[in-house]
């Protein structure tokens, strides 16, 4: 039986099948490649970004487009996997010939696409991922960050904690890049802002851990003024849910990441009085444009509200369009120059990008949860908007991190 290595025939058939299913495409105008976790772990977050970006695309195109043509977005699913993301990004560059890339979501996908943007010289605008590593440690001229990254957020949290005067603090950081860096920056910055404050204990739940009861008892044993929980999604949800029975909110304060989709999924399970931080909470935006956008979004999607990633996605489209218009071409060097030279009117207010690390002075939003009559879920009230200018790392820090990354 020689058949056991007769794999040539089916292989050929398979190749032909793939070949006929997919083919090269061509289009005129500005072409934006979107790579993001449409399915996989990010699926629950990014759908709103996509809807928002489509609204922005329609608006821009019906106002005449940019550079004399319409904006076209090619949607690709990274499945929230770094390997799939890097593959899709390369295909967008090689066969779709996109002028620039945007999207991402998980920081691993961002880190996977980042060197590809550099390798092929295609600008990459992060809309949904907050790692600072892509623009700082491994930064290059083509990568742009439009939301507050980890270093900025850590500093904003320290700023807020100092304003509140909390002294004894337990940190609970998910044991991976985001959790570790945020806790580290928070600790360092708080020591500068409020020398009296001290971290009494550091806890490191594993990512994906949802039974947090023994972390809660360990944290409460210290009788802290604050539990700083660098967690998100199911981690945050489980912490709040399980904390209730221990009287967590009566015995201490809780500060944690609460973007809009958490409010939507937990609903009334989120008690009043949690300190939450977010990157683009629609209900806290005061610009007229923001109110118009939310109304438009709701009208188009059965009254659903956009989450933070929707706000960030909408903003990134107008940033791209504005910069292209000013640059007068899709040439990356001209684009970068335009980005550095102008102010952008975004839903989150007027923002600027600095050129040392292509990072926008994006604000962080920190407030206290409360059930109001305005929405079917709790939202943050008394929102502190901590401007990016206050939290951007200085140039020495940026250079030091870049040197260390080369090591």
């Amino acid at each position: 039986m020689k058949t056991s290595i007769r794999f040539g025939v089916p292989l050929a058939a398979a190749l032909l099948a793939i070949g006929s299913a997919l083919g090269p495409a061509y289009a005129a105008g500005v072409k934006i490649g979107y790579v993001g976790g449409i399915s996989g772990a990010c699926g629950g977050l990014t759908h709103s970004a996509r809807k928002a970006m489509e609204i922005a695309q329609d608006e821009i195109n019906s106002a005449g487009g940019v550079l004399g043509g319409p904006i076209e977005i090619v949607w690709r699913d990274s499945k929230t996997k770094p390997d799939e993301g890097s593959k899709q990004a390369r295909d967008l560059i090689l066969s779709e010939k996109v002028d620039l890339l945007t999207g991402v979501c998980s920081s691993s996908v961002f880190m996977a696409i980042n060197p590809i943007a550099k390798q092929y010289g295609v600008p990459l605008f992060s809309a949904i991922s907050g790692t600072h590593k892509a623009t700082i440690d491994f930064g290059h001229p083509f990568v742009v960050q439009t939301q507050p990254h980890t270093l900025m957020e850590g500093k904003a949290l320290a700023e807020y904690a100092a304003r509140k005067g909390w002294k004894n603090i337990v940190t609970m950081g998910l044991d991976y890049e985001w959790g570790r860096t945020t806790v580290k920056v928070f600790t360092e910055e708080l020591a500068k802002l409020n020398p009296d404050a001290k971290i009494t204990r550091q806890l490191w739940p594993r990512i994906g851990e949802t039974n947090l009861t023994s972390y809660i008892t360990a944290a409460l044993a210290d009788e802290p003024d604050l539990i700083m929980a660098v967690m998100f999604g199911s981690g945050t949800n489980s912490l709040i849910k399980q904390g209730k029975a221990y009287g967590l909110l009566q015995r201490t304060e809780l500060l944690t990441f609460l973007s809009t989709e958490s409010y939507m999924s937990l609903g009334r399970d989120i008690p009043d009085g949690v300190h939450g931080w977010a990157r683009g909470p629609f209900y806290a935006l005061t610009a007229d444009a923001a109110r118009e956008f939310v109304a438009k979004y709701q009208a188009a999607h059965d009254g659903e509200y956009p989450n933070d990633w929707g706000i960030l996605g909408y903003d990134v489209m107008y940033i791209i369009a504005g910069a292209l218009e000013k640059a007068g071409s899709t040439d990356p060097a001209a684009l970068r120059e335009a980005l550095g030279a102008m102010a952008f009117d975004t839903l989150r207010g007027e923002l600027r990008m600095r050129t040392i690390d292509n990072t926008f002075n994006a604000p962080s939003f920190i407030g206290v949860t409360r059930m109001t009559d305005d929405y079917p879920f709790p939202v943050m009230t008394d929102v502190n908007v901590i401007p990016g200018d206050l939290t951007l790392p200085d140039e020495t820090t940026v250079q030091a991190l870049r040197e260390a990354a080369k090591g």
């Binding site: 056991s4 794999f7 190749l15 793939i18 770094p82 390997d83 295909d91 996977a112 390798q119």
Partner: protein, 320 residues
């Protein structure tokens, strides 16, 4: 049925015409395809090697690995860490990748062959989880969940077609080598042990030593696949060592058909075809894989390989 298949490999010689035809065909397809299709072909080839290496354990040596992604992923980590952290030249990193995998195959394998059946499989799982935890948590060395990227240009800076050629050559050599292993004296011993350890022991073959040899070979070839994957994407992440890549490999082999040499190859083709094509139209393509697996059990325990050989035999019968 299964036993029949085990003894069914009557021909040990390589059908060179077939190998050459396949090689030429794939090479042509690579050059005619747009990038995304070329990427899919490259993925199929890399995973065909990975799944074939795993198949050496499953089909021939009577072992199940619930953590084979470790040897795949460590190949990519061996490449990345030696280049990015130790400053080695690229060629040295390429050599180091599979050797790192083989080394861990030796260490873990030596432990796992002390046990048998499900107990050994559970030990492979424990080893894999420990490795994953270390890779994920040792930030300074492995980059943690941010991985390592940019240490090599993706696809070595080649075009998809020409990088595909490199992969094609390497994978062909490795799979031919695996064929030799399975059909050489060592392979016969491995199979004897896999089928009936007691009888093999009576013939003087120590089960543990033979299974360890198979384990190391499998780990090494998985490492070659992982190293290629690391170059293909120009990065490495803990996912490559993780449970999803392990399940991918297992599903490919089981889909392809146990106790046949081609299992990994057929399985990789079908699995990656669905992953790359069907996933665009139907989000729930893994459900389809699940249904196919059920059908495999109920209709054709020898998997796709079994179906192919049945059809081929009928065709030949008709032609003859």
């Amino acid at each position: 049925m299964a036993a029949e298949h085990r003894r069914g490999n009557a021909s040990w010689s390589i059908d060179w015409r077939l190998v050459a035809a396949t090689f030429v065909l794939v090479a042509i397809a690579l050059h005619l395809s747009p990038p995304l299709v070329a990427f899919a072909i490259i993925e199929v080839m890399i995973f065909a090697l990975y799944a074939s290496a795993l198949n050496l354990l499953l089909s021939y040596s009577g072992m199940v690995s619930f953590g084979h992604a470790v040897y795949f992923g460590l190949g990519a980590y061996g490449l990345a860490i030696t280049i990015a952290k130790f400053g080695w030249p690229m060629w040295a990193g390429v050599v180091a990748g599979p050797l790192v995998s083989a080394f861990f195959g030796l260490v873990y394998g030596a432990l796992c062959v002390q046990l048998t059946a499900i107990y050994a499989a559970m030990l492979t799982l424990a080893c894999a989880e420990i490795t994953f935890a270390i890779v994920f948590q040792w930030f300074d060395f492995t980059g943690g969940d941010s991985g390592i990227s940019g240490h090599v240009p993706a696809m070595m800076g080649l075009s998809p077609a020409w990088f595909g050629m490199v992969v094609l050559v390497v994978v062909t050599i490795c799979i031919l080598a695996l064929w030799r292993v399975v059909h050489a004296p060592l392979g016969l011993t491995i199979r004897a042990v896999g089928e009936n350890p007691v009888r093999a022991a009576a013939m003087g073959h120590g089960r543990k030593r033979v299974q360890l040899a198979a384990f190391v070979i499998s780990a090494f070839l998985s490492g070659v696949a992982g190293t290629l994957y690391g170059i293909f994407h120009g990065n490495v992440f803990p996912e490559y060592v993780g449970v999803l890549f392990t399940i991918d490999g297992l599903v490919m082999v089981l889909l392809g058909g146990l106790y046949s040499f081609g299992a990994g190859i057929y399985g990789a083709i079908v699995y990656k075809l669905l992953d790359n094509v069907m996933a665009h139209y139907f989000e729930y393509w893994q459900l389809v894989i699940g249904v196919i697996l059920v059908l495999v059990v109920l209709v054709s325990p020898a998997g796709i390989a079994g179906l192919v050989s049945t059809v081929a035999a009928r065709l030949r019968g008709r032609a003859g």
